[in-house]
């Protein structure tokens, strides 16, 4: 089986869907001729034509709006927002329009579009190339929210998103595009020899709404998504506690059964995300775990998150959850 990084896996998903379905088109800023600033659509314009893979004006609100119009007129558009930090001009279109059109029209119109966008920190991107705004979308009904973490799920989830008849926002961990990130900025591996980098060339899907058990254990459940899945893996290895590591993959709808099953087994829960703490999706996870699993819990639920501050530039490693912080949270749950 070929080995791919996330950039190649995303490229492969787009390529396959463009090949299979003439209603699929892909567009975004620098996404056409140049193949995207992260190279995710490299070569696709040349292969599929510039009527199917094209550049747009620098206009996120316009990109979302035309995707909406194309979606209700029978296409299956895939739009790239170059950085998740720049999705906010499109927010009205996503929240008030894309998410609601099926409902508001009594089911007469719907919008099968996918918005994919690189998110998260770790690339020295400062305030505005580092944010992880997933919880600003999980609060809106009518859209599904996906956060990928590996080459395998980046391809399979993107194909599921494109094939879905509902709108899907897909966040991709840009820090992990070319290698998993274990929380050490001085030691950055590639995806080489990683089991999740074995990606079939052909079409396959990773279903929406299903989590991935990235590590299996007995003492504590660590719930995470995006780049923090790998940092959590490192933390678990460092602290030596036997943990289930759940890579949520889809945030809306999240995989209730996988979470309940794991917490009932371990009785402990640590939630890790790089977005700020207040109203982060970790709050939803913590509330849901205590609602559903309270009598199985042996210890208070811990959250390890980014701080409630703007994302920093030179000091980003003090902002993002580190293996040490995550390991400390796991150990705290073990004290009870």
């Amino acid at each position: 089986m070929p080995e791919m990084n996330i950039v190649q896996a995303v490229n492969s998903a787009l390529d396959i869907m463009l090949e299979r379905d003439p209603d699929v088109i892909f567009f975004g800023e620098d996404a056409g001729y140049f193949g995207g600033v992260f190279r995710t659509s490299d070569g696709l314009q040349e292969k599929h034509g510039k009527h199917r893979v094209f550049d747009t004006p620098l206009s996120e609100g316009g990109i979302a709006a035309i995707a909406f119009g194309m979606g209700i007129n029978g296409l299956r558009p895939v739009a790239e927002i170059q950085f998740a930090d720049y999705i906010f001009p499109a927010y009205d279109q996503i929240v008030n329009e894309i998410a609601k059109v099926r409902h508001r029209s009594g089911g007469e119109f719907w919008c099968p579009l996918t918005i994919r966008t690189p998110a998260g920190g770790g690339i020295r991107g400062g305030h505005h190339h580092s944010q992880s705004p997933e919880s600003q979308f999980t609060h809106t009904s009518g859209i599904n929210v996906v956060y990928t973490s590996t080459p395998y799920n980046s391809k399979g989830l993107l194909i599921s998103a494109i094939e879905s008849n509902d709108p899907v926002v897909v966040f991709e961990p840009k820090r992990c595009y070319r290698g998993p990130f274990y929380g050490d900025p001085h030691n950055v591996p590639t995806w080489k020899d990683h089991p999740e980098a074995e990606v079939p060339e052909a079409h396959y899907t990773v279903p929406l709404g299903k989590a991935r058990l990235a590590m299996e254990g007995t003492e504590c459940t660590v719930i995470s998504w995006g780049a923090m899945v790998h940092v959590s893996e490192q933390a678990i290895k460092n602290c030596g506690i036997s943990c289930d590591l759940i890579d949520l993959q889809t945030l809306v709808p999240w995989d209730k059964d996988a979470i309940i099953k794991s917490i009932e087994k371990t009785g402990r829960c640590v939630i890790v995300h790089e977005a700020p703490k207040t109203s982060g999706f970790g709050a939803e996870m913590a509330a849901s775990v205590q609602e559903r699993c309270f009598y199985h819990l042996e210890a208070p639920i811990e959250r390890v998150t980014g701080w409630d501050t703007p994302f920093p530039h030179t000091t980003e490693w003090d902002y993002m959850p580190s293996p040490a912080r995550i390991a400390d949270a796991i150990m705290k749950t073990m004290e009870e």
């Binding site: 035309i66 119009g69 194309m70 007129n73 029978g74 059109v101 099926r102 508001r104 009594g106 809306v252």
Partner: protein
């Protein structure tokens, strides 16, 4: 160091040209019918439309005579059809407004004074063309054959409402007529319509998309996204700004510092026209011209429809608080219904008696539709759509977390 004071006293904030107690005057109709040429719609450059963007395309003079190169030469039957739709719109609006006052619907918005806009423009299109309206273009549905009972069912939120009580009145959806769902956030449809047209262009279909935005909402980013994407990708779209002078209490001079809205399109290199929005023939002709451009692959046309919001913004609005009240009678464009009647009479194809008979007949039809619709329920008395409609069609299939909440709601049902 502190700056020295300049002579200008303070911030410049435009005032409306008239407010309660003032006498309104308008100086907007400098062109006569025939003043402006009708350029070939094919290979027409934006600069060839400069006079049209700063002037006003007219066909009907104020005596009811049609003249000039823009006369669309509609048959008397076509003119009578347009008149009937407009009369229907006005009577329908009056009936709905009365029902709103009795609590049978929560809210209403009339098209009063602007009936020609949606009706003439939709009649100028082909049936396969997409209509992406605001709340001020419900008349397009009459042109596309929507049953009035179905429209009333929506407005009064009864069990037969095709959008299942989810949206406020006047937020129609009518897929069979290619009339796309109305949304409250103003302006969003303008840029979406460009996407609809891009999909038609991609599929190489002979269809275009028409959309409208208000003078007020043309200050939103969506207006500029639409013009820019239309300029770049040249899809078959007809982009109309309905300049009815008012956005609730905000005068058009706060939406733009440019004396004409049409002129903005020139900067985007999109051919742009300003048209008398109460002149049925001129509206029809300009829209037909835009449709010819769309069909020939010439891309977008930008049209400012100059009219006057003769009524309140909505049933929740009291315009006597912010404008004189009778000033729409001074509007130089007059009333769109009266002007078409005047024209039909002038060409010997209509009479006052026929007009009276038409109004009586349509009034009877609206009453009959109303009586039928209320047999399915109304907002004051129910029955309403099932509360289950809160949870359906949020997604294609109901996800588990919605199902859980739906089950919870059923325990507390207020039915």
């Amino acid at each position: 160091m502190a700056a020295k004071k300049k002579k200008q006293v303070t911030l410049h904030v435009p005032s409306a040209p008239f407010r309660p107690g003032d006498k309104a005057s308008f100086a907007l109709f400098e062109n006569e019918p025939g003043d402006l040429p009708r350029p070939n719609p094919i290979k027409c450059t934006a600069s060839e439309t400069t006079d049209h963007a700063y002037g006003l395309v007219r066909v009907l003079d104020f005596d009811g005579n049609a003249s000039g190169p823009w006369d669309p030469k509609l048959t008397p039957d076509e003119l009578r059809e347009g008149l009937e739709h407009m009369v229907r719109m006005r009577i329908f609006d009056d009936r709905m407004m009365k029902m709103q006052r009795t609590g049978k619907l929560s809210f209403y918005m009339r098209s009063f004074g602007e009936e020609a806009v949606a009706i003439a423009q939709t009649m100028a299109l082909e049936n396969q063309d997409w209509i992406f309206p605001t709340y001020r273009q419900p008349g397009a549905q009459f042109v596309r054959g929507r049953d009035m009972v179905s429209m009333i069912n929506h407005c009064i939120g009864n069990v037969e409402d095709n959008v299942k009580g989810r949206q406020m009145p006047v937020h129609y959806t009518y897929r069979d007529g290619r009339f796309i769902s109305v949304s409250s956030p103003v302006g969003t449809q303008f840029s979406q319509a460009v996407g609809v047209a891009m999909a038609s262009q991609y599929k190489a279909l002979d269809e275009c998309c028409i959309t409208w935005i208000g003078d007020g909402s043309s200050a939103e980013g969506d207006y500029h996204y639409a013009l820019n994407f239309a300029s770049v990708f040249k899809p078959p779209v007809i982009l109309n700004i309905v300049n009815n002078q008012w956005a609730i209490s905000t005068h058009a001079n706060l939406a733009s510092g440019n004396p004409t809205f049409a002129a903005r399109g020139l900067a985007y290199n999109v051919p742009s026209m300003r048209v008398d929005g109460n002149d049925f023939l001129a509206l029809y002709a300009v829209t037909k011209w835009a449709r010819q451009r769309a069909a020939a692959g010439e891309g977008a046309t930008h049209i400012e429809v100059l009219t006057y919001r003769a009524g309140a913004h909505s049933s929740s609005d009291d315009p006597s608080r912010y404008r004189p009240g009778d000033e729409h009678e001074a509007w130089p464009g007059g009333d769109p219904v009266d002007r078409l009647v005047q024209h039909l009479v002038a060409i010997g194809e209509w009479s006052e008696k026929q007009q009276k008979e038409l109004e009586e007949r349509v009034d009877g039809e609206v009453m009959a539709a109303y009586k039928e619709a209320v047999t399915y329920g109304d907002l004051a008395n129910g029955p309403y759509p099932s509360a289950d409609t809160i949870f359906t069609e949020v997604y294609e299939e109901v996800p588990w977390h919605l199902q859980e909440q739906w089950d919870e709601m059923k325990k507390w049902s207020v039915d």
